[in-house]
């Protein structure tokens, strides 16, 4: 993996980075101050390739810059001569991370995290741990490979060494071996179901088939010929038989006609036919007479119907007249009932109107009661508010009185304390005077001692005659220097002076404190005195204002203009004077320091306010009672209104029912009048004329008399009798015509039985004879065609037909006898030929059953199919043998190709399986994998040892097992005992060796990233290490060195300078001049530090 360009956004301290190109750069220094963001560039590489952090196993989202919604990393790199681009995007919210790997040369893409991670590991042949240990050496963790255990080291390097590949090849070999074994087993099972030698078996079966097929063909030919012979013989025999049958039929017909019975039947039928014709002529005359009678009756009935007095109209008129009495009585009764109901409804309507008129007065009564309840309720609330207000006012007066008493008491206590302090002041002044005197005495003592000591010091080296250092006069002799002052005495004097000074300070302090206390007490007393005076003034003012309290007036005033309902008592207001007296007495008690505490004041308060509270409670009770009375009145009024509404509804329903009855009566009357109007005119004539208006119909009906109805009924009965006479005539004519039709039918039946049936029997006998004649013409075409029967079955026609048939039958018998003799002879000859041919074939087969007998030429079985059964059986057996042989040949032939292919595939598969068996063993962990690991480890350490020597100035090298060896002494050193610089160089040597070794084998590592580590090197070692790096880079390799040392810039080819400000980190390539300046500044700074 050889990075080409890198860009990223929202990663740690970077808002954006790049794109930065690493193409055509070999040795790159990523430089900058500590904390500038250099290592973040390597983090971006790890995130791009593996989606992981280099410095921990924590969630890579921890790398997202503060406040950035996303983190994207975009890396283009070259691997195995292909250019690849990998992009990953991480989100701070719950959106899933995206990853895309793209081959920029082929366009192939891999999407999603897991497939991309998998593709990267497979491509680089190393997982992230190996990458972090071998390719990207993170800050502080570059010695992972050096310090790893053997096991860990093997795991880290197995991808680079190709051991992973060998293990994968072995897995593939095992998988293919198992799959191959299964297929070989299936193939063996399949081959076992086939013939051992399918080709040979096919040839043998073909020979058998040919033999059987030849025999079958010969027998088929024989059977076909013999069946033809059987058929022709059977036709000859049948022809002779048919001629015999026809001759027998002709002879039988002649015998039947010769017996004479048929002619007598025809004669009897002729006689009966004459009688039947005479009877039919009589019947026809009678039918004409009856028809005339029927037509006359029907014409009379039609005339009556046209005149409106038909049978239907008369029946309807009869029904109308019969129910006219009943309808008249019912109408009269309903009219009487309707009149009575109308009177009752009028009275009910008057009663309901009167009840509705009372409702406004009732409503006013209830409203007045509700107003009264509201007024009392409002007064009740006013009284309660007055009680509350009075309670507060009285409590304020009592509290003010208690406060005034308390202030007076505190004032007295302050006065007592001030007197006590004033009494102590003279004593304190005396103590100050005593202390001042003691201090003056001590001061003199100290001054005396100090003078003595000064004199002793000054005179210590003087002699008589010397000038006095004080007065400059000569010292007289003899002179004795003053004795030095005792040190203890001077100290004692100073101590006494200090004690006296302290005592004076204490006395003055106490006096000042007493004076300050006295001033405080005086000020406090004045303040308390003003407060007591104010309290007393307030109490006096409150008591004086009490007569003007509105609350007291409210409680004492009676309730005016209230009409109390019956049973409710008016409460009695309080007496204001009593409350004032109680309040004055209470204030006096408190001022006298009695009942001044809280509970006592509350008790006094309760006592004074008890009448007011009682009055308020009584008023609430009265208000509740009035309210209940108003509510009860409202409920009763509403109940009465609901009853009235129900009664009005009932009245309306009855009025509607009355109207319905009235309409029904009018309808009934109209229907009766309509029925009367529909009566025939002659029947309606005796009744009075119907009125024109509907209102008069009822009266018309009521005025109708029984005599009028009876007269109309008589007219109706006369018309009905006339119609009945015409109806009887019509029925009699119809009955006569029916009887004549039955007579004609009986005559026809008798003709069928006694005339037509015998004639048909005679014709049938003649037709039988004609049929025999037509059969005979089949074998003797010269015979005449018999005549056909006539259309009519009359005795004359039948007799003529019979005579012609008898003549033809006689002639046909003679001619047909000659034809029969010729046919019999031909049949005999054919039978004999068939018998001879069959005998010859059976003799040739030679395989016929022993009990087989050939039928006689006259035997009927000779011509049956069963006679040839031995031949068909033999042919069947031969055919079956041929089919079986061909099937066996085909089956064997079918197996040839598959068996050959299976044998070939099994041979190839077994060879491969044997090979895979050995390959799996050889590639096992303890075998080739171990050999490969050992070999490439040696190669790695060889290169690393040489590089380590160059890096360390010939100091160190590597031996087996990654042992670090001091070259001069040959002594192995534990890697953990190396210094920081040595450890870095040892790791750098390993990393460079890995890059070189990897580039020799399958892939190309292409890049190495070193994060710090140079800081642990001294100046000379650093220079040597950078020199080695310069030498090792080249070609397409990229070695990137991260360092905070500016001196590194001198050794690298390109410098990516990283710096950070308030807006975040940024990176840029430095020009050659900038690199030179950087190195120069660093050197100058180093010189300055030396001075």
């Amino acid at each position: 993996v050889r990075p080409l360009t890198l860009s990223f956004t929202g990663l740690r301290s970077y808002d954006t980075f790049g794109p930065v190109s690493f193409d055509n750069r070999s040795l790159v220094g990523i430089l900058g101050d500590t904390g500038a963001g250099k290592s973040t560039i390597l983090e971006a590489l790890c995130v791009a390739l593996y989606g992981k952090c280099s410095w921990s196993d924590r969630d890579v989202k921890d790398l997202i810059a503060d406040g950035a919604p996303t983190m994207t990393v975009d890396l283009t790199f070259r691997h195995d001569e292909h250019r690849w681009r990998i992009r990953r995007t991480f989100y701070t919210n719950t959106m899933p991370t995206t990853a895309l790997l793209e081959n920029l040369d082929t366009g192939a893409k891999v999407d999603n995290i897991r497939p991309v991670d998998k593709a990267i590991v497979a491509m680089l042949r190393m997982d992230f741990t190996a990458f972090r240990s071998a390719v990207l050496l993170p800050q502080g963790r570059f010695a992972t490979l050096l310090h790893a255990t053997d096991r860990e080291r093997t795991d880290l390097l197995k991808g680079i060494f190709g051991v992973d590949t060998v293990a994968l090849v072995r897995e593939f070999a095992q998988a293919r071996r198992v799959a191959l074994g299964d297929l070989l087993q299936d193939a063996a099972v399949s081959r076992a179901t086939m013939l051992p030698d399918p080709a040979g078996e096919a040839v043998a079966a073909a020979a058998r088939a040919e033999r059987a097929e030849r025999q079958t063909a010969e027998l088929t030919e024989d059977i076909t010929r013999l069946r033809g012979l059987q058929s022709s013989t059977a036709m000859a025999v049948n022809h002779a038989y048919e001629i015999t049958t026809a001759l027998r039929a002709v002879n039988d017909a002649a015998d039947e006609l010769d017996r004479g019975q048929i002619e007598s039947v025809v004669a009897a039928a002729a006689t009966i036919e004459d009688d039947l014709a005479a009877a039919e002529r009589d019947t026809t005359a009678s039918e004409l007479q009856a028809t005339d009678q029927l037509e006359t009756a029907e014409a009379a009935l039609a005339d009556a119907e046209a005149a409106g007095i038909g049978a239907t109209r008369l029946a309807s008129a009869l029904s109308t007249l019969e129910r006219l009495h009943t309808e008249r009585e019912a109408v009269e009764a309903e009219q009487a009932r309707i009149t009575t109901e109308a009177q009752r409804l009028a009275a009910e309507r008057a009663r309901l109107d009167a009840a509705a008129a009372d409702d406004p007065a009732r409503e006013r009564e209830v409203a007045q009661l509700s107003d009264t309840a509201a007024t009392i309720q409002q007064h009740c609330e006013d009284v309660q508010n007055a009680v509350n207000e009075l309670t507060g006012q009285v409590r304020d007066v009592l509290d003010a009185a208690a406060a005034a008493a308390s202030h007076a008491e505190e004032l007295q206590q302050l006065s007592d304390q001030a007197a006590a302090v004033t009494a102590k002041l003279p004593e304190l002044e005396r103590q100050i005077a005593d202390s001042d005197e003691a201090l003056n005495i001590a001061r003199l003592g100290v001054e005396s001692a100090q003078r003595a000591e000064a004199a002793a010091v000054a005179g210590e080296h003087l002699h008589a005659g010397d000038n006095c250092p004080v007065c400059a006069r000569p010292i007289p002799g003899p002179y004795t220097p003053p004795a030095p002052v005792d040190a203890d005495a001077l100290n004692t004097a100073q101590t006494r002076y200090q004690d006296a000074s302290d005592a004076l300070s204490r006395a003055r302090s106490q006096r000042d404190e007493a004076q300050r206390r006295l001033r405080d007490l005086t000020d406090t007393a004045a303040s308390k005195n003003r407060a007591a005076q104010a309290s007393r003034t307030a109490v006096t003012a409150s008591c004086g204002e009490m007569t003007g309290w509105t609350a007291l007036a409210t409680l004492a005033a009676p309730i005016d203009d209230i009409a109390w309902p019956d049973g409710v008592t008016s409460p009695i207001p309080i007496v204001a004077g009593t409350v004032r007296d109680d309040l004055s007495a209470g204030v006096s008690r408190i001022a006298a320091h009695r009942d001044a505490d809280g509970p006592q004041r509350r008790q006094l308060l309760e006592h004074m306010l008890a009448p007011a509270r009682r009055y308020s409670a009584d008023l609430r009770t009265a208000a509740a009672e009035v309210d209940r009375a108003a509510a009860t009145a409202r409920v009763e009024l509403n109940s009465e209104r609901r009853d009235l509404k129900r009664q009005v509804t009932g009245y309306q329903r009855e009025a509607e029912a009355f109207d319905d009855a009235h309409r029904r009566l009018a309808s009934t009357v109209r229907k009766v009048a309509e029925a009367v109007g529909n009566l025939p005119g002659s029947v309606r004539a005796p009744l009075p004329e119907l009125p024109g208006a509907d209102q008069e119909l009822a009266n018309w009906l009521a005025d109708l008399t029984d005599q009028q109805i009876t007269a109309a009924r008589a007219v109706l009965d006369a018309a009905t009798a006339a119609i009945a006479g015409y109806e009887l005539d019509r029925i009699a004519a119809q009955r006569r015509l029916h009887e004549l039709a039955q007579t004609r039918s009986a005559t026809a039946r008798r003709r069928d039985i006694e005339v037509v049936a015998p004639l048909r029997q005679a014709v049938r006998a003649y037709e039988n004879a004609a049929a025999a004649l037509r059969s005979a013409r089949t074998y003797q075409p010269d015979l005449p065609e018999p005549d056909a029967i006539g259309v009519e079955l009359t005795p004359t026609a039948v007799r003529r037909y019979g005579q012609a048939i008898v003549a033809d039958v006689s002639h046909a018998g003679v001619a047909l006898s000659e034809t029969k003799g010729t046919a019999d002879r031909l049949a005999d000859q054919q039978r004999r030929s068939l018998t001879e041919d069959l005998s010859a074939v059976l003799a040739r087969i030679g395989e016929a059953p022993v009990d087989l007998t050939i039928p006689d030429p006259q035997d009927a079985t000779l011509l049956t199919a069963a006679t040839l059964d031995p031949l068909t059986n033999a042919r069947g057996v031969a055919g079956e043998q041929a089919r079986t042989a061909r099937a066996e040949e085909q089956a064997a032939a079918d197996q040839v190709a598959r068996a050959t292919a299976l044998d070939e595939a099994i041979t190839a598969g077994q060879l491969r399986r044997t090979t895979l068996d050995d390959l799996c063993l050889l590639l096992a962990e303890g075998k080739f994998q171990t050999d490969l690991t050992d070999r490439r480890t040696r190669a790695l350490l060889g290169v690393a040892s040489e590089l380590f020597s160059r890096l360390s100035g010939g100091e160190f090298g590597y031996a087996e097992q990654f042992q670090v060896v001091a070259r001069r002494s040959g002594v192995a050193r534990s890697a953990k005992t190396l210094s920081g610089g040595e450890t870095f160089l040892a790791s750098l040597a390993l990393a460079l060796a890995l890059v070189e070794l990897y580039s020799r084998t399958a892939g190309r590592l292409g890049a190495l990233f070193l994060d710090e580590g140079f800081g642990s090197l001294d100046v000379d070692t650093l220079a040597a290490a950078l020199e080695v790096l310069r030498a090792e880079t080249g070609g397409d390799k990229l070695v990137a060195v991260i360092s905070h040392l500016h001196a590194v810039a001198e050794a690298v080819q390109d410098v990516l300078w990283v710096e950070k400000d308030s807006s975040g980190s940024a990176a840029r390539w430095l020009t050659g001049e900038q690199i030179a300046d950087l190195v120069h500044d660093d050197a100058a700074a180093g010189l300055l530090s030396l001075t």
């Binding site: 195995d80 190839a908 598969g909 050889l922 060889g942 002494s969 040959g970």
Partner: protein, 188 residues
């Protein structure tokens, strides 16, 4: 600073010449000496000894260095061929084993797991025969028994069996060359 190398005897012989110089001493010994620093100090009483290193013949460890042919690390097929020449096979032909290794190694460059591994031509042939299908000539030509059946036939390389988007880590030129395998010194 002077560096002095030699046995204790040799160092002691030069003690006068060393005098009071500042020295780093490397002592050649036959066996490990526990109090070497004291012995050297005693031998060089006037010198300022800053460091004493022991170069013990008994514990001297052989350093590793680049081999002569280290510039080219052999590929896996070559290493496997060498390994096979040393250990031999159990019964299969060495050429067949090498050829199979080469085929599966080529497969490993394009398949990541066993499930992705392509079938061998012998499997394809058996599968086709069992299904009653014809065996393609391409399959037949790749059979182990065919590819190495005759030495007169030109060697065939294991061609990639299917195209993948990912390039091959092991290019085709690095596949097993059967002709090379047949010329190797292989023991059974």
């Amino acid at each position: 600073l002077r560096e002095i190398t030699g046995t204790l005897e040799q160092i002691g012989a030069h003690a006068d010449r060393i005098g009071s110089a500042i020295v780093k001493v490397i002592v050649d010994t036959a066996t490990p000496s526990p109090h070497l620093a004291e012995q050297v100090t005693a031998l060089l009483p006037h010198a300022e000894v800053v460091r004493v290193e022991e170069r013990c013949a008994a514990t001297r460890i052989q350093l590793l260095d680049r081999t002569a042919d280290g510039a080219e690390e052999p590929e896996l097929p070559e290493l496997f061929r060498d390994y096979l020449a040393r250990v031999g096979t159990r019964g299969a032909g060495a050429e067949h084993v090498l050829a199979s290794f080469g085929e599966l190694l080529a497969e490993a460059s394009i398949a990541d797991t066993v499930h992705d591994c392509a079938t061998l031509p012998e499997e394809d042939m058996l599968t086709a025969v069992l299904a009653g299908d014809p065996v393609p000539n391409r399959t037949r030509e790749r059979l182990l028994v065919t590819s190495l059946a005759s030495e007169t036939r030109p060697p065939e390389r294991a061609a990639p069996r299917r195209q993948r988007s990912r390039p091959r880590s092991v290019p085709p030129t690095e596949m097993v060359d059967p002709s090379a395998a047949s010329s190797a010194e292989v023991t059974r």
